[in-house]
Amino acid sequence: MTTKQNLQHIAKFILLVILAALVLAPILIVLMNSFKGRFFISDTPFAFPNGQTFSGVKNFISGVEKTGFIKAFGYSLFITVFSVAAIVLFTSMTAWAITRVKSKISSAIYFTFVFSMIIPFQMVMFTMSKMANILHLDNPVGIIVLYLGFGAGLSVFIFSGFIKTIPREIEEAAMIDGCNPIQIFFMIVFPILQPIVVTVTILNAMWIWNDYLLPYLVIGNNYKTIPIAVQYLQGGYGSRDMGAMMAMLVLAVIPIIIFYFTSQKSIIKGVTAGAVKG
């Protein structure tokens, strides 16, 4: 390697270090401020906590009390896990049936699902939350039905794209051996879908865990998920407790970072596969 190339590499490396620092800085600044007294945050957010401004874990205690964060964490976890499970199970079944059975009904179903991906949530937010009220789906169990319905478009689309590439021969052989479609799907097809199940799981988990408006409109009065709990602290402009806010932001980010570092490879792979298929 020539000296010129060497210098170029060093320059690139330094540039990347600076960029990485810029990316991490906002999160670290919030972390730092979560340990400062509530009145020392807005005016001097870039100052380190000192003897006068350091407040220990007081913000965390008041934030958790004000927002019911522990409950919110529970609701978020429950809703995300079961909605994603429902989406993976039911949309893979649907995608398989409409891909394998070629008919006008199948293609009509497929195109309606694809169409729903484009439509913004605001189009249905009012009517959907009213429907949820009427059908008594306005609780952490009922909302799973809404996530399945609203998330169906993308997931059916991704599963269908993958199923088209699987050869039919294995399924046909199993049928000749006397398996019924339920056995064929769960014993043969679903195991083959594993890599794309990871993609669908991650994309939906990221969406549902972070989703604010749908749960706010449907169950927000009685059950606060984490994004609702954070937004709840906002109150009117100026009257909010900045200390509690900083602590809640930190608590909201921690589970995501833990999740990210434990399954980083599959997240990045899953997201790339999802984007390329989409």
Partner: protein
């Protein structure tokens, strides 16, 4: 499987279809109907024709403002995010040390939800603006650039991952042949890398365009439309119209229909535009 009986077909498709009818299709059709009515609740509405659509545009300037703000925002952020992500991808595919670490760091903000992101950046941006005696609520311009910075921070890493995958798929012989022919770095990027990653550019533009148009959470958390409703994008303006004042639900629904048509149109147009470029290259 072509011969799957109706019973089995129903078993496989009905759970999703019923949920889809409840969560999307019926609310969607009802929403179109309600945009032509005056209503407080879904069951109590009367037909008023296109008045809601006229009022959406003429009653105040909020909707037009939001439309202009959203289009400007989409243009600026789509260009910046994609250029930034592409440069990051080039840097990370040039054998620099610590590639995996940098990739991990750049991608991370993408996993954090819009509400949390909005408040994180509100602290940072207000912390800078306070030195000039202002804050985010003083002018929609601050909100605009705040949202641009926030969206770049959140999405550049995601698009970077897609670009990296595309760049790594370029056959090395092509790059080497270009080097032997005496092409410099810029010529190689222009004549080989960019044409070869065109499908990735399509995907990334598609994703950033739709993300920009549908943006809501970040907008709500960062500025909530302040000052007045000047920094509200379309989704937030519709939300405020619906829930801000009793009696304007019909207008809100009409705005939502226009918004949906607009997004669908942009998506179709954009897909057609970039797809033709792909074929040419």
């Amino acid at each position: 499987m072509q011969k799957m009986s109706k019973k089995y077909f129903a078993f496989f498709t009905l759970p999703t279809i019923i949920a889809f009818l409840i969560a999307f299709l019926i609310p969607f059709i009802l929403g179109i109907y309600l945009s032509f009515t005056e209503f407080r609740t879904v069951t109590n509405s009367h037909w008023v024709g296109v008045i809601n659509y006229v009022r959406a545009f003429t009653e105040d300037k909020n909707f037009i403002n939001a439309l202009v703000f959203t289009v400007k925002f989409a243009v600026v952020s789509v260009v910046l995010i994609n250029v930034g992500a592409f440069i990051l991808a080039l840097l990370l595919t040039s054998n620099v040390k610590g590639t995996n670490f940098f990739r991990t760091v750049f991608f991370m903000p993408n996993l954090i939800g819009g509400i949390v992101l909005g408040y994180i950046w509100q602290l940072i941006i207000n912390g800078i603006l306070i030195n000039f005696g202002v804050d985010l609520t003083f002018s929609a311009t601050y909100g605009f650039w705040g949202l641009v910075v926030l969206m770049n921070w959140q999405q550049a890493g995601y698009m970077m991952i897609i670009f990296i995958a595309a760049i790594q798929a370029i056959p090395t012989e092509m790059i080497e042949a270009a080097k032997i022919d005496g092409a410099n770095a810029w010529q190689t990027i222009k004549s080989i890398t960019i044409p070869m990653v065109m499908p990735a550019i399509t995907i990334c533009t598609f994703l950033t365009v739709t993300n920009s148009f549908k943006l809501f959470d970040q907008n709500l958390a960062l500025t909530a439309g302040a000052p007045a409703r000047e920094s509200a994008m379309l989704a937030l303006d519709i939300y405020t119209t619906f829930y801000g004042r009793v009696g304007s639900e019909g207008i809100g629904q009409a705005k939502a229909v226009v918004f949906s048509l607009f997004v669908a149109l942009i998506v179709l147009l954009q897909l057609r535009l970039t797809r033709t470029k792909e074929v040419e290259s």
